[in-house]
């Protein structure tokens, strides 16, 4: 299994990283919070730790801490536009249940 970016998502991330001027990639993960138990974490990564699991997709380095991996393994990260709003969308095959807004989920 792996974690992947769609072509659009990879392009945007590349763009954001260039404009930000630093960072080695993205850090993905989950935290226990939110109305359905888990919440996604999506951050710029400035450094990797030894325990990080590393993926490459579309030329972008993705870092995931091992505790988070089971929850999001096999996930695809997309970038979409909905009306005036735009941002990243998590297509996570592990999710069995998510809250109405989709910001938190359970597996």
């Amino acid at each position: 299994m792996a974690i992947t970016l769609t072509e659009t998502a990879a392009q945007h991330v590349r763009n954001f990283l260039t404009k930000r001027g630093k960072g080695i990639g993205l850090r993905l993960g989950v935290r226990t919070s939110g109305c359905s138990g888990m919440a996604y974490k999506l951050e710029f990564a400035d450094e990797a730790t030894d325990s990080d699991v590393r993926f490459e997709s579309g030329g972008i380095t993705l870092l995931v801490d091992p505790q988070s991996l089971p929850y999001i393994d096999g996930m695809e990260l997309d970038y979409t536009r909905e009306g005036l709003n735009e941002g990243f969308k998590f297509n996570n095959p592990n999710v069995t249940n998510q809250c109405g807004c989709g910001e938190s989920f359970s597996v």
Partner: protein, 622 residues
């Protein structure tokens, strides 16, 4: 499902707790909203992909309100109910608006701020601005998909307390939480300073539609400090359009056109100006209401020649700002260009020549202020860790207090960095004085009558003491938004009085600039006026003292001749006080002092004798 944005390391927000914050450039002609997403400041477009929202509001009879492009296109058809450039009326009284007669609105002069009568009722500039802000707020909420924590709104560096307060009120009315008001040049510097991580002295050259501002800023280790601000509140891109318009009239032998033709030609003039940014000549074609056809070619060369003196008019304020900051051209490390009018090649060249360097133009000059405001909003909303930075601004005019004789005592000098607090001690003028009136004024001149009155309040309950014994500490404090609060405290008794300056409206941007110019121009007049007032006050004090002494002891201690002689000299002092020669007053005062020396001596002897009566030496020895 919800869409996520990338956060800075360790700053992921909990679900439903996004700290969405926006920056708003509330402009005279156009307004914009921006936010920081995925670590980048970006302007939010409307559903049609337009970034600029024309600052135009139209009121309908049924109470409906249109904002932006829709309102703008109705401008000529419904001029009375379509309000443009409302920013010029913020915090202003009717007498401050110079061109009232040429504006199509039905003004209502109210104490404080003027209002406008529209088909939907009487509206204040605050309410009208709130409509623009509301429109931007809705755009932002749609684009960000959530409630906003707050907004940073930019204002010109020259905005006074009244105008800043009015802007805050408008935001509140629009349902926005104001995180901070930010000076426009400072916002531009933030956009460049942070994005490019450069340090040093910067000049921000902001040539907007109707105003010109120059600010000298220092950026160092993430600290922004405004060292000086100057400008011309009646100079902008519109003046360049107007030059082309006048040229068109002259070239085609036209005179006095109707409102519609004027607007048409001004629109064509503006388009021609924009074309000449990238091309060396442009064609201006229009059909007037009379059927007359205009078809002219304007070259960049001609355009630059006819606008030469407009460009030159922006250079003088640059010199003044540098002088205020105590800097030379060589010390300026970079020049930031703001405002659409800075796209004109002749402007860029003139600025480059003056500063001996190429100005920064890599950010869109129309958007740079909003982008900086968004970055600031992002920090204030708590979305940025670690490298905290501070923001310093300056107050554009000195803040002072009225002292005896209608003189100004400056407490916070102009160009002081804010937030700031300064205190000064004052005392009572008369014996037994129990109250003191505190008059807060703004301006550079020596006489209160030449400065702007901001507020008045009274300190009561001062314990009765002889004149000069009370210690009254007056403290002026300007907060980060540039709003002033003043407190007065009598030190021995602790009685205190306090005022947050309720802005008293009544001074236009043009007048602020004028006041700055006057202060240097009339410096000598002011010095003489101050000397005169000081002599008058001193003479008045002396007359009062002599009179009360005469009333008490005159009959006993002085012969009739003596009394008549003193009366004559007193009369002479009063006469001199009527005149404007402070030397004459001084001479008369000296004469009165001399004439009363013996009387004073006699009074003192008597008082000593009185004090000693009934006491033994031993009592006094202790």
């Amino acid at each position: 499902m919800a869409l996520l944005q990338i956060s800075e390391p360790g700053l992921s927000t909990a679900p439903h707790q996004h700290r969405l914050a926006i920056g708003i450039d509330l402009g005279t002609t156009n307004s914009l909203v921006a936010t920081v997403r995925n670590g980048i400041s970006a302007v939010l477009n409307d559903s049609e992909g337009r970034a600029l929202l024309p600052s135009v509001v139209r009121y309908h009879a049924d109470g409906g309100v249109q904002v932006g492009d829709a309102a703008q296109s109705a401008q000529s058809e419904d001029p009375v109910n379509t309000i443009v450039s409302v920013k010029r009326f913020m915090g202003r009284g009717l007498k401050d608006v110079a061109d009232v007669m040429s504006l199509p609105y039905r003004f209502v002069d109210e104490p404080g701020m003027l209002k406008l009568r529209t088909v939907a009722g009487v509206k204040s500039p605050v309410e009208i601005s709130a409509e623009i802000l509301k429109s931007l707020r809705e755009r932002a909420e749609q684009a960000l998909g959530g409630e906003l924590v707050g907004a940073v709104i930019t204002v010109p560096a020259y905005f006074d307390d009244a105008q800043r307060q009015a802007t805050k009120d408008a935001a509140r009315l629009a349902g926005l939480n104001v995180l901070r008001l930010l000076n426009e040049p400072t916002a531009a510097a933030i956009a460049y300073g942070l994005d490019n991580a450069a340090e040093g002295i910067y000049a921000v050259y902001d040539l907007g539609g109707g105003t010109f501002d120059i600010s000298i800023l220092r950026l160092s280790r993430g600290v922004f400090e405004v060292l000086a601000a100057n400008g011309d509140s009646a100079l902008g891109g519109d003046d360049f359009d107007h030059r082309i318009y006048c040229w068109l009239l002259e070239k085609n032998g036209l005179s006095a056109l109707g409102a519609q033709d004027t607007r048409l030609l001004l629109t064509r003039a503006r388009a021609a100006k924009e074309e000449l940014t990238d091309r060396s000549e442009t064609r201006i074609a229009a059909v007037l209401g009379s059927g007359e056809v205009i078809d002219t070619v304007l070259t960049r060369q001609d355009f630059q020649e006819m606008t030469q003196n407009l460009v030159a008019r922006t250079i003088q304020p640059l010199r003044r700002a540098l002088r205020d900051a105590g800097l030379t051209v060589d010390e300026v490390k970079g020049v930031v260009m703001v405002g659409g009018a800075t796209r004109m090649p002749q402007v860029q060249r003139a600025v480059a020549d003056f500063f001996k360097q190429t100005p920064l133009t890599n950010l869109d000059p129309d958007k740079v202020v909003a982008l900086g405001a968004a970055i600031q909003a992002n920090v204030l909303a708590g979305n940025r860790g670690g490298d905290e930075w501070l923001l310093l601004d300056v107050c554009p005019l000195s803040l002072g207090i009225e002292t005896m004789g209608g003189l100004t005592e400056k407490i916070i000098p102009r160009n002081s960095t804010i937030p700031t607090a300064r205190a000064q001690d004052f005392t009572t003028f008369k014996d037994g004085q129990t109250a003191m009136s505190i008059h807060v004024v703004q301006g550079e001149r020596e006489l209160v009558s030449d400065c702007r009155s901001l507020a008045r309040f009274e300190l009561r309950g001062i314990p009765p003491m002889v004149a000069g014994a009370a210690r009254i500490r007056v403290t002026y404090q300007i907060d980060a938004d540039g709003l002033l609060s003043v407190s007065a405290r009598e030190q021995t008794s602790g009685v205190e009085s306090h005022i947050v300056v309720k802005p008293s409206y009544g001074l236009s941007d043009a007048e602020i600039t004028q006041m700055l110019q006057d202060s240097t121009q009339y410096a000598r007049d002011d010095m003489l006026a101050r000397a005169l007032r000081e002599q008058q006050v001193e003479a008045g004090q002396l007359l009062e003292a002599v009179q009360s002494a005469l009333d008490q002891d005159g009959a006993d201690l002085l012969g009739e001749d003596e009394r008549a002689r003193i009366a004559t000299v007193m009369h002479r002092v009063r006469e001199a006080m009527q005149g404007s020669d402070h030397q004459a007053i001084k001479k008369a005062v000296t004469q009165l002092n001399e004439a009363t020396v013996q009387f004073a001596q006699a009074r003192m002897d008597r008082n000593v004798a009185r004090a000693l009566t009934g006491h033994r030496i031993a009592d006094l020895d202790r």
